[in-house]
Structures are given as C-alpha cells and as structure tokens.
Amino acid sequence: MIHAAGSGHPGGSLSAAELVACLYFRVLRYTVGRPDDPSRDRFLISKGHGVPVVYAALARAGCIPVDELKSLRRIDSRLQGHPDHVRLPYVEAATGSLGQGLSVALGMALAERLDVKHDYRTYCLLGDGELQAGQVWEAAMAAGKFKTSRLTAIVDYNKVQLDGHVRAIMDLEPLADKFAAFGWHVEQIDGHCVESVLTALEAVTAQSEKPSVIIAHTVKGKGVSFMEDTHAWHGKAPTTEELERAIAELEAD
C-alpha cells in the first residue's frame, strides 16, 4: 500500500499490526456496511500517520474493497494520507495532528454514558512519541476524574519517534506510574504477542471504576529486519526491491 502510494509511514504501521488485528478481528463489535451503527464499538487511531494498518484491517474485514488499498494517498481517494472521517466514516475521527485523539475518545466514552439506548466501548491507539503532547495528559487527567471505565487507551510503545529514540528525545518513563497517578488501570504487555494482547483487552473489561491503558511494548518496523527499531523508516516508502525483501521476510515469519 505504502509502496504503491510512494510515501507514508511503514514503521509505526508495522509496530501496531497485532494490536489492530486483535481489535478488528476479535474484540471490536461492528457491522460491516453500517459504519453509523450507534451501538458499534469506537476505535480511534490517534497516531493518524499509522492509518495504513487500519485501512488494511478494514479491507480484510470487508468494510472497504481490498483493491481500494492501492488508492492510498491518491487524488479523490477515501484513503487519505491521514484518516478523514467525513470521506470514510469507518475511521471514527480525523487525526494526524498528534495529541488530540484521546480527548476525542474520552468525549465518545462520555457520550456513551448519556446514551440510554446503546452500549459501546471506546478504544484509542496512541504513539509513544505522541505522549509528549500536553493534551494527552489533560485527557488522561479528565478520564481519571470521570472514571470512564469503558475507555481503553493502547500505547504503541515502539520506543522510536520521528527524529530518533523516544528515550533520547523526551523520555516517558516511568510511564505506567504516570498513568496510574492519573487514576488509570494499567496493563503492560508484549504488543506482538497476540495472546497477551487478547488477554489484556479482556482484562480491561473487568474495570468498573477506572479507564484502562494497555502499554504495549513493540518494535518499530516489526517483522522487516532493515526497518526495525530505527527512525529511518518512520516516514518513507520502500522501493520495489525493498518491498520484495520485506514481504519475503514477513511471509517467512
């Protein structure tokens, strides 16, 4: 997809592959063809640049044609470079300016409480670099106050952002303590282990007082040796030869 587009963000899409797959194929309740179903679970990708992994899941789930993936970033495509909710209602909100999605997800979780007719859960996937934005912590503080137990944040903690390693740019640690101090229930897992991801997503449903965060330890560019753990592949498309090597590695996996 990103190769066909000639630009995009492979690193942060690959690190979230298992997280997004578990959500779309095991956890989220939604009806294909009915993106406006008021009782659907809400999933927001706050790190909007990672949306190719969501488009891939939507195609696999049958929400959009697989063929359409080739239109990523092309003129008039619904698959904008970053999510566009108006063009493609399957993405719950436009994102791409980092730091805003958790607030929007909190609004959805609060709306659910006022909705006497429909029950749904709200999930929000965040980047680790994204957590440097102050608004994330405004939202975290507010979710703790409002005790939105049906809100789950998932941090794709791949340790790398755009300019380099998170640790060197603006360290987040101790991250679990920070969320706990804001009134959140915290799960820490290996974000590439499907079983752990599913267990954590199940565990958070037991919460009735606190919002939950799943800190998923991941590897940026996971599955493609030359893309792993480097910011070099944060935002560039592979050449045809690189794509072939990448697919061979992923298939051998």
Binding site: A94, S103, L106, G107, M108, A111, E112, Q135, A142
Partner: protein, 315 residues
C-alpha cells in the same frame, strides 16, 4: 442599556435545555463568567467540568458530537479560539456539531486588558471552511441565535458574545433569520455595516450624522459567515460607500468578510474600521472612545470617509 449578550445566552441555554436532551455543556473553569452556570445547576448530568484545559475541552466536545450530542463549549473568545489547531483538526475537519462560544470579545471587556480580549477570534473561526460564525448585537438576538444553534445540525459553529451590556435594538417580536443581514436604518450617502456591540454605537452615530445632513444606513450583520452577500451588493449599488465597524482586529473579521464578498464589485468603496494594535486596560467606555468605536468615533470616521471619497469624485 440592555443586558450583555453572554447573559442572554446563558439564560436561553438553561431555558431550552429540557426540550433539547442532546445539548450538553462543557466548561473550562469559567461557568460563572460565560454564564453556563444556570444550565449546570438545572442539568448537572449534562454539564462537564473539564478544568483549565481548553484544548482537551475542544477534543472531548468533538467526540461527543461525533456520537450525536450537541456540545456547547464556552470560554473567553481568546482562550477557546486560541485552541485553533484542536478546533481545525478535531471539530472542523470532522464536521462535528460543536458550538464554540466565545464570550468577552473585544476591547469592550475593559480593565482586564489585552490578555483576556478576543481580538483575533473572528479571523480564526472564519478561516475554517465549514464554520458558521454568529455575533448577535443585543440580548434578544443572542437568545434567538442560541436557540438556532441548539437546533442547527449542519456542522460546527462559533458564537461571539460580549461581556458588557449592550443596547436593545430589536423588539420583542424579532425574528432571527440565519444568514440575513438586518437593515436597521435606511440611508443613501453611506452604509455602516456593523456587528455585535458596535451596532448600537453605529445607530447612535447615524443619528449624529443625520443632524449634519448625511443620510446613513445601518446594517446589523449577526451572521458573519455565511455573510449576506446579496444585501451587501444592494447596499453597494445604493450607497456606494460602506464603512464596516467591529470590536475586533482589522484583519480577518467582519471588515474582511465584507471586502471578500464585494471583491468583484466596482460600485463601492469600503473602509474597514476596528481595533488596531493590541488591546489594553481602561474602562470599556474609555477604550471604545480611544479606538473610535463609540458613536462619536464612528461618526467622525464616517464623516472623514465621506468627505475624502467625495473629493476623489470631485463632488
């Protein structure tokens, strides 16, 4: 003197809350100032205290709107529209039905000074393609605009309100027509096109000018976006001179909207009058006088404008 448009807004919101179960109100620690306290007391389950975190308030409101609610988020105009990037991304681009309410607009707030004055808010909100922008001129218009926004379902909207009391201009039976300017006074030598707190001053200025033999129309623009382009073109052909007056910076506000609407019109000369430079402390009345936004100041600017334009035409 009538009351502040923020007061009329707050009373209306509390009054219509029962018939509008989808309306929710978000606050960033200013409920008593922006007058949403009455709603909070009447409907505590639909009132959300977000704390001094306006960016988060914008985002939370967007999420609520995307789930079918109609959130009103109110703060001082400068603080709420100052979260422009959140508004552009989470509200505008999602076409979310969020009602952004900016009170304490302009130098009219007085003593608090520049940091609390909304002087760029219209420029910011007008720049978003789908944002409706309303600025009522008196209490009854604020009431009608609030009712309109509670029902409106077409996307985001901005409502700009005053801290200070403003004169009553419209009678009890007033009908608010979205998108339509209101010609409060007819005239042929000049049309003063004003909005918000400046409309009352413009009416008084027109009275002063009539004593000097000048026939001046006054038009109230409560819907700054989409602006009443037809009316502006009619005024252009009839009066040939338009003076815009607003308590907002001269870049991007009502004046800019009028000039944009008339950009291909050869028949008219437009003069944009508003606040130049940063605001400052003083009473609202003193500041209106200093910046030429009171009746005397508007009359002076209008007379100069007419005289200069007449010279140019050799009339």
């Amino acid at each position: 003197m009538g009351k502040a448009t923020r007061a009329a807004f707050g009373e209306t919101l509390a009054r219509i809350g029962a018939q509008h179960p989808r309306v929710v109100v978000l606050d960033a620690d200013l409920a008593s100032s922006v007058q949403t306290k009455k709603f909070a007391d009447a409907y505590p389950e639909r009132f959300f205290q977000i704390g001094i975190a306006e960016g988060n308030m914008v985002g939370v409101a967007a999420g609520m709107a995307l789930c079918g609610l109609t959130p009103f988020i109110a703060s001082f105009a400068c603080f709420v529209t100052g979260r422009f990037e959140q508004i552009r991304m989470s509200v505008g681009y999602n076409n979310a039905n969020v009602r952004i309410v900016g009170t304490h607009s302009g130098i009219g707030i007085g003593e608090d000074g520049y940091s609390q004055m909304g002087l760029e808010d219209l420029a910011l909100m007008r720049s978003l393609p789908n944002m409706v922008v309303l600025q009522p001129a008196d209490a009854i218009e604020a009431e009608k605009a609030t009712e309109f926004l509670a029902d409106y379902n077409g996307g985001p909207a901005y409502l700009r309100l005053t801290r200070q009391n403003v004169a009553d201009l419209n009678g009890d039976g007033y009908r608010f027509e979205f998108g339509k300017g209101v010609e409060l006074r007819e005239g042929n030598d000049l049309a003063i096109v004003a909005s918000g707190a400046c409309v009352g001053e413009a009416m008084a200025a027109a009275e002063l000018l009539s004593k000097r033999g000048l026939s001046v129309a006054v038009v109230n623009i409560h819907t700054i976006k989409p602006i009443d382009s037809d009316l502006l073109h009619r005024l252009a052909s009839r009066c040939r001179r338009i003076l815009t007056v607003e308590d907002h910076g001269i870049v991007g506000g009502l004046g800019s909207a009028v000039v944009e609407a008339l950009s291909e019109c050869r028949e008219v000369v437009v003069r944009v009058h508003g606040v130049r430079g940063y605001g400052e402390s003083g009473t609202g009345v003193e500041l209106f006088a200093k910046h030429g936004l009171d009746a005397d100041g508007i009359a002076r600017v209008a007379a100069e404008f007419i005289a200069r334009d007449s010279d140019r035409h050799g009339v």
